[in-house]
Amino acid sequence: MSWYKTLATARRVLTQLSHDRRTLALVLLVPCLLLVLLKYVFQGEPRLFNNLAPMMLGIFPLFMMFLVTSIATLRERTTGTLDRLMTQPMSKFDLIFGYALAFSLLGLLQASIASLVTLGLLGVTVMGGTLPVLVVAVAAAFLGTALGLLVSAFATSEFQAVQLVMPILMPQVLLCGLFVARDHMARPLQWLADFLPLTYSVDAMKQVTLNASVTTVLQRDLVVVLGCGILALILGSITIRRQE
């Protein structure tokens, strides 16, 4: 693996995005608009909105990066560029970590703008402050990127890649504690939720919202989210084969 090639790959992915201004605008602005919408949905319940909005900051980057990465890497497979790269002197990890780096940076930018809107414009208060919010959001973006890389191997078209959101991400959203506290769910669902990484991403945001200091639970949550991301990246690298 070469850092020069990894950074070149990250730069290339970001340059591609910079040429696609519509996608860039959708990635960066849609979360903000949805948060504003949420604010007015919960107009009569400001405390509920205050609890929900930070959790959304842990979900949006994961969702967006999952979609963008799975489609981008699927394109590598279907347009022949992966064929070219795999016959060149580059490691699979240069490609995978290049993608992870590029989309984590994009996640940081997205989370920064969304946090600015949420904590500034919409008046949401979090005990832990802005920096931990950004750290958790970037970890969620990294996890979304890694999962997107992994699942792109199981899709043969962009249509399928988008459909994979339903079985991979939607159950995690339903079980992560966003709608109902996890200890109010049926016991088997609580167990299942314990195995899903989005649960820990959302839980980390809850910790940041409620605690001024970095709690051990927050540390555990971050380790789980990052660990799952690294595991998904390793599994994703296995799905990219030099010989097919």
Partner: protein, 242 residues
Amino acid sequence: MTTSAVKIQNLSVVLSGKFKALKAIDVLLAEGRITGFIGPSGAGKTTLIRSIVGRQKLTSGSITVFGLPAGSPQLREQLSYMTQESSVYTDLSARENLSYFATMFGIKRAALKPLVADILKTVDMTKQADQLASQLSSGQKQRLSLAAALIGFPKLMVLDEPTVGLDPVLRERLWKLFRQLTDGGTTLLISSHVMEEAERCDDLLLLRDGRVLAQGSPQALCDQTGTKSVEQSFLKLVGDKI
């Protein structure tokens, strides 16, 4: 006497567990020459090419390239592969595409600019350097893809249908470039289903249904079959096998 760049022994490839794309192929491909893989669609040209560049899992048999098993890490510096699709990033400019592929060969930033400018000039695309690949015509995309294959000064260039869809003037220009490359010692393997392109190659491998029908220079094939063109040779050989 020429040495062989590629040695293929008893090669068979079965795709998706059932379709026999290549059947017991035994050939030697000469170094420093243009060898054409000629045959109709579905003959096995692309599978053979993917096997040589190391992208295709072999069912049986072996391939060595410059004495090393196909797909060896040491070969990645010496080989380039142009796929049938243009295989460039359509949301990058021509220059950005080439710069990225060049970094994969470890070419440092300071050397990138002159190298990319030089390659763009070689394929006559200096004017389109900053145009997004998505805005290029299909012929220009093909040339950009070829330009990417020229990076790293490979000893072996494997080009899958490089001139398909190009106008005659451009095709002529590319064949001149191919000849210059072999004059410099590069080995070229070029697939085509256009018989008139076969006449331009030094050696030919006529393929049909995953088998080698014949191998030799265009003249040798015509002499062998008593015909006046490669197309007639191919038809005669197919007729003999039916």
